[in-house]
């Protein structure tokens, strides 16, 4: 076993895999969807969720303008959609039309909610800050959409019902094993 130590960074994709999400936003009659693997829950009360997005992204502008964003969690079967959404720009196309994305109605915001998501958060922006080459958007989760059968009574994902899409880096996706330990 060889441990490598790199002062400074070298490659640093050791933090993968991460759940692959599709972040959505709309403003001024334009809407977009992008693939985001850099996200986290920050606080329970109030419920706050953070997503890190580069300023050059079209979705970045939509969130700045509307102060809202959606976080959609997709099953592994939808990996091709996640990759397609991730590999194209909303400046050049309407991804919802192009990729035939079915939508549910949001209830507390105007963000697009993906019908094929096993869960989705509607978030209202409470803070944002530029860190290096990305901006961290922090939103309060004001509504949650989820597929009832996809979760156990304890509130964890039921892996017999849903296989979450995970991003491994380098355009690779995978899902989880089925067995859990306590």
């Amino acid at each position: 076993m060889t441990k490598v130590v790199s002062e400074g960074i070298g490659t640093f994709s050791q933090h993968y895999p991460r759940v692959a999400t599709i972040v959505t936003a709309q403003a001024k009659g334009k809407a977009n969807a992008m693939a985001v693997a850099w996200h986290l829950v920050i606080s329970v009360n109030p419920p706050l969720y953070g997503v890190s997005i580069a300023p050059k992204r079209f979705t970045h502008q939509l969130i700045v303008d509307s102060k809202e964003f959606g976080v959609n969690f997709l099953p592994f079967e939808m990996t091709e959609l996640v990759a397609s959404v991730g590999g194209s720009s909303g400046r050049e196309m309407d991804k919802f039309q192009e990729f035939n994305i079915a939508l549910d109605k949001p209830v507390k915001t105007a963000v697009p909610i993906l019908k094929d998501a096993y869960a989705a958060y509607e978030c209202k922006l409470v803070d944002d800050k530029l860190y290096g080459d990305h901006r961290l958007f922090v939103g309060e989760i004001v509504a949650v959409h989820w597929l009832e059968e996809a979760f156990t009574p304890e509130g964890t994902l039921d892996l017999d019902k849903v296989s979450p899409a995970l991003f491994l880096g380098q355009e690779r996706y995978l899902t989880t094993a089925k067995d859990t330990v306590r």
Copy 2:
């Protein structure tokens, strides 16, 4: 298929699974390790990593005092250690001694680096902000430790060599499937 929509939050653990990490810190002769699933990479250049930690945690004080933290990525075989570290407080014990945790030498900070981690980041604090009931610590990754065999030449985790520990919520852990798609 029943879609549930909850205005406000209800349960919101739909964002799991997440890679289970052990975050480490030391200050004033005290060191600690805690289980953290709420973390993300925020920026590539400079390389910034964020962890969300409740102020009541002992590790929180150590990071505030030392302005450094470590993020250790553990294999699924070490789940019991992650759970033990997560279920105890460093105010009451020396977890490194109690759980017999072997350490590697840090190179750019003084944070404990776990020998059994397949990868670890040494981070120097660049910003922190209280969001709701947690504080987001943002650190620049100043050194990376990793097990060479655990990664492919492209820099992704080699799942034939390492099974990452993922947290599902409700004290449940799992790992990934082996197959990836592109």
